[in-house]
């Protein structure tokens, strides 16, 4: 089959990406097992058309993400203490979003209120995503975007009231939190490698 090597490489890539989400003790074996089926699917003579074999192979590789969600999820359950923290965050997020909506109703022409609402919704999205699925990988992008938006909100407020140093302090604190998160992830990656 033409482009067989590229297709296999793509399949290997998808399986590899899925396996990266598995606990470390079963990761290598699952990868070996799932990647071992890819050439067999690509050469399955029961399927006459080569494009159909390619599609089936890629569908197989892509669906391993679902297998990981079902098998790997159990290894990453949220602890009761973490669940309590996430529920508190959820309540705080609901209150914040309610407050932001109230502010928009009071002053619909003020753009900062919409920025604050977007920030509040992101802060709400984090506990929702974590409670809905333990170990969700959506958590990090939400935190990063939420923190960046928080920095933007505080800088905007600082621009509106240049004498108020609290806004600069809040923006600097959020930027520092972002730096800590980045450093922690870098360290975790280095440890894994």
């Amino acid at each position: 089959m033409k482009a067989e090597r590229q297709l296999l490489r793509l399949g290997d890539y998808l399986v590899g990406r899925a396996c990266r989400r598995l606990p470390r003790d079963i990761r290598a074996e699952r990868y070996r097992e799932w990647a071992g089926e890819l050439p067999v699917i690509l050469h399955d003579h029961q399927i006459r058309s080569a494009p159909r074999r390619a599609i089936r192979m890629l569908a197989y590789a892509a669906d391993t993400f679902r297998a990981v969600a079902l098998t790997g999820g159990a290894a990453r359950r949220t602890s009761p203490a973490m669940t309590a923290v996430l529920r508190s965050l959820l309540l705080a997020g609901v209150a914040l979003v309610g407050w932001d909506i109230w502010n928009i109703v009071q002053a619909p022409g003020h753009p900062l209120n919409y920025l604050q609402l977007a920030w509040g919704l992101l802060l709400l999205a984090y506990p929702v995503s974590m409670l809905a699925r333990s170990g969700s990988r959506a958590g990090t992008p939400i935190i990063v975007t939420g923190t960046l938006l928080g920095v933007a909100v505080n800088l905007w407020e600082a621009a509106q009231a240049p004498g108020d140093w609290v806004n600069y302090g809040a923006a600097a604190l959020l930027a520092f939190l972002l730096f800590v998160l980045w450093a922690a992830r870098r360290r975790a990656h280095a440890r894994q490698a």
Partner: protein, 106 residues
Amino acid sequence: MRMTGPLERVLGAFLADVVAPRYGYDLMKEARLPSGTLYPLLARLERQKLVVSAWDTPQQVGQRPRKYYQLTGEGIRIARLEIAQASSRRHHAPAVAGRPAPGSMG
């Protein structure tokens, strides 16, 4: 063991030939299940010691090793029992009452 449609199909595929080694892709085709459904089921059956797995040795250089699965003795017994029970439940399930035809209720 909670019998579900996919599980019944996987056990049925195993029971079609209990001594044959079954690879993931073959089971997918026989049970008509996607990989994302099949592998968690196999992992669960392996944890329950109803299925054992092993690696085959590649016949040619460059061939990738494949993992195969087989039912254990206990797995065969339980699979046969569960499939028979599921089949019996289906036979004895009360027929779903159809909607009465218009005008048939007097």
